[in-house]
Amino acid sequence: MSKLLYFAVLTSVVGILIILFISENKEISLLKIDEIDESYLDHYIRTRGTSGRVGLANKLTIFDLNDGINSIKVIAFDNSTLIQDGLELEVYGLIVSYKGELEIQAEEIKII
């Protein structure tokens, strides 16, 4: 095995292990709702706000998350009755686009 190949394999393996370690322990920084734009499409984000217009459908909870100035729709694939209007929530999820509007497909919702 040439020295370059040995060095490349060693760097890759050690580097991948470090990246895995960091990704397991990294906190996603909190974004304000007005900071969420198209550049975050298909990315995970964390944001906070107050729930409003909560609607329950078959296996879905849909509500607006607003911070007093801006709002964004949140979709939770879970028919949870815990989410009601007026709750302070922290939402972690994937930014998607539906009918031209950005939405959060929630993976975690915490009541603050």
């Binding site: 040439s2 370059l4 190949l5 060095f7 490349a8 394999v9 760097t11 890759s12 393996v13 580097g15 991948i16 470090i18 990246i19 895995l20 960091i22 990704s23 397991e24 990294k26 996603i28 734009d37 198209e38 550049s39 975050y40 499409l41 298909d42 990315h43 995970y44 686009s97 539906y98 009918k99 031209g100």
Partner: protein, 398 residues
């Protein structure tokens, strides 16, 4: 209105030349900036003209971005696979010919995608739910096929798995632009570094047409339409993954056929993303998302206008691409290639630092190290696409 539209198209094409020829600058980035400035811009123009500008820029970009990937070895995420055969042709003096092949793919794919627009609207509405269910199994099958066809099977599996784990780790870092350091390292800087180490010299370039037989040509363009369709429909499937799938479906098309295929995919994807948006109300790329925000409704008239603009811009861009590739071919032999490679590496490092900070630089280092391995063990670099394919498979399965 016609004069304004034509002027807007010209400005859009100029912007597309900038984004297409400068490595690391993507049309989605410009589109997002435009949306941010839209409130001010709409004092001087209309949402429709702004949308025409974005489409002109995006189509031009999709046609011209093969030039930096072939001549400079600096691809963006949609062109990573054409670096490999493109660079091979460049080192044989056929850089211009390589670009010309990608242009055949772009223009051919564009014309066929436009011609098939109406039937595609009907087909997409029907097959989309079915396709979503089976895509991970289809991807697994394709990966197995690619590995079986590789001479160095063990290394192919190792590289696929390492790249897949790297991809999973990088997406878990939640970087703002994870693809930039990941793909630049695997397919860009690694190749440039090896060119410096191996003291590659670019020979005098020939301005000749590289011929492709009719059947591989038809297969390649057809496959690019198929691959472009997959990208426009399925979340998580990018041009590079779709190109691999399409190349397996197409069979033996060689380096030249593969360049035609990769050249077509991105252009076709952009056209078909209008179709997806019109038929399914799903915006699958950043530029279309911005257009959907600018226009209150996406009517059939808008759809027809955008298709017409795409055809006009496609023709113009191919002419421009031929001119630019002649210029690149003429001047590439006059520069010291090692210094050029080093300059591009430094440029990519700066870009990664600006867009993805220190963590992005670390990812670039690791992905470069991994990207160096395949040529050293005589294995195909395409297995490194595991960095995107494995996360997509797991996304659909879990």
């Amino acid at each position: 209105m016609l004069t304004e539209t034509l002027l807007t198209i010209i400005v859009g094409v100029a912007a597309g030349c900038f984004t297409g020829l400068v490595p690391g600058v993507h049309v989605n980035l410009i589109a997002v900036i435009l949306l941010g400035l839209s409130a001010w811009l709409l004092k001087f123009t209309s949402p429709l003209l702004l949308s025409v500008f974005i489409i002109s820029m995006a189509v031009t970009h999709s046609i011209l971005d093969s030039i930096p990937s072939i001549f400079l070895g600096a691809p963006d995420s949609d062109q990573v696979l054409n670096v490999l055969p493109g660079h091979r042709l460049l080192t044989k003096g056929d850089g211009y010919g390589a670009v010309r092949l990608t242009l055949i793919g772009s223009l051919g794919g564009l014309i066929i995608a436009v011609a098939l627009t109406y039937p595609l609207v009907l087909i997409i509405e029907r097959i989309f739910p079915f396709l979503q269910k089976y895509i991970p199994y289809f991807l697994i099958f394709i990966i197995a096929l690619i590995i079986i066809r590789e001479k160095q099977k063990v290394w192919a599996i190792i590289l696929f798995v390492m790249a897949g784990v790297l991809g999973l780790g990088v997406f878990g870092l939640h970087l703002k632009n994870p693809l930039l350091p990941l793909l630049s390292g695997l397919f860009g800087t690694s190749g440039l570094l090896l060119s410096i180490v191996n003291k590659i010299n670019i020979p005098k370039q020939k301005f000749r047409k590289l011929k492709v037989k009719t059947i591989p040509l038809i297969k390649s363009i057809g496959s690019s339409v198929f691959a472009g369709g997959l990208v426009s429909l399925l979340p998580g499937v990018g041009s590079a993954q779709a190109s691999i799938i399409a190349s397996q479906v197409a069979g033996k098309i060689g380096d030249r056929g593969f360049l035609i295929l990769v050249g077509g995919v991105n252009t076709v994807n952009f056209i078909l993303s209008f179709v997806s948006f019109f038929a399914l109300d799903k915006a699958r790329n950043g530029a279309i998302v911005v257009i959907s925000k600018l226009l209150e409704t996406f009517t059939l008239q808008n759809f027809i206008l955008f298709i017409g603009v795409s055809l006009l811009v496609g023709g113009l861009s191919v002419i421009l691409a031929l001119i630019f590739s002649r210029i690149f071919s003429k001047y590439i032999v006059k520069v010291n290639y090692s210094i050029l490679c080093l300059s591009i590496i430094i440029f990519v490092v700066l870009l990664v630092f600006i867009f993805s900070s220190w963590l992005g630089l670390f990812v670039l280092l690791v992905s470069t190290a991994l990207g160096i391995i395949p040529p050293l063990v005589n294995c195909g670099r395409n297995h490194l696409m595991g960095c995107l394919i494995l996360p997509v498979i797991l996304f659909f399965l879990l």
